[in-house]
Symmetry: C2
Subunit: 198 residues, 2 copies
């Protein structure tokens, strides 16, 4: 088989994007090369740069380019409150409510045994170390209200209680089955205020 | 405003992909950085390589990395027959029918005055030069059977006849309103055989 041309290689590589099959990979490649070559170059550089630079915050596990992220370094925040979310996007949603001034831990996922995502994959050990700093007093579990998010919250709550830590869950202002990322800030704000001890 | 982090820059750059808004750009960035960093690197390199290397064939205008593409250099092909298509994907569809052994010209678009796509944008001058080589005897217009593709074929046919060249159009085996890329090879094969003089 001859080596791939750079066009064929681009089409192959585009299939790594979520939801992109062979046909749409071809369309995207043609579009970029025909109409938007400077955008293609910019995207290529951004991918290489981010792949090389972005890592996980040593404290909260979110994406960052430094050892400890800006949020974790903020002296204005209450370090006794820790909010556990599934993704950086969820963290951003909670931030936008302006009702929470504690710190975060980002699981970068949720428990999903069927997909092979267990405690290790959601950085359980790191979370344990994080909450064992003697400063964290309450952990707010803000995983999604999906089946998997609820199971994750339940699992974490058991584990926190076993260690004598207070665990709370966002109130059911968030629609059952809903994902935080798609809920309006007002609803999330109420859910933070109404959180209940588990 | 502070400089964008490499994650923010990646999210911005991903919006150049067709159909990708801010929310899905964020999802794609998180997905690549969390689960598929080697694919992200590969895609970044492919984008830079293709942006630098891919150009248009001097004869047929398709994407290629050399001055004249492989198809145009193929001595087995009948140079008196020229098939005009909108995109490289359409050319591939015609090739797959195995019914056409002539050469191609790829417009890289279609006439669409409302979108500002006129004769210049579909490389009209280059097509004129191509068909004026004294070898091309018949031009098969294989633009799509959409309104814009039909208008493009009509426009090209007028121009070809004015120059004393034979123009033909794929037969209506292709469903009206259909796009070549989504039609089965058998239908296209029949349409090539049944092409009619314009
Ligand atoms: Zn952090
Ligand atoms: Zn060519």
């Amino acid at each position: 088989m001859p080596a791939l041309t750079s066009l064929q290689e681009l089409i192959e590589a585009l299939r790594a994007l979520p939801g992109v099959g062979p046909r749409s990979a071809q369309r995207i490649a043609y579009h970029l090369l025909q109409h938007d070559r400077s955008a293609a170059t910019r995207l290529g550089e951004a991918l290489l740069h981010a792949s090389g630079e972005v890592r996980h915050c040593a404290r909260c596990n979110t994406f960052t380019e430094v050892e400890v992220c800006e949020t974790c370094q903020d002296p204005e925040r209450d370090p006794s409150l820790l909010c556990v979310v599934e993704t950086p996007a969820d963290q951003l949603m909670v931030e936008q409510t302006l009702t929470f001034r504690g710190l975060y831990f980002v699981l970068m996922g949720r428990l999903s045994p069927l997909d092979g995502i267990g405690p290790k994959e959601i950085h359980f050990e790191q979370l344990i170390r994080r909450i064992s700093d003697g400063v964290v007093k309450e952990v707010i579990l803000a995983t999604n209200f999906t089946n998997e998010g609820e199971a994750t919250a339940h699992y974490l709550a058991q584990m926190l209680k076993a260690r004598g830590l207070k665990a709370s869950r966002l109130a059911r202002g968030v629609p059952v089955g809903g994902e935080l990322e798609y809920v309006d800030a007002g609803t999330i704000a109420r859910a933070v205020l109404d959180r209940h001890t588990l």
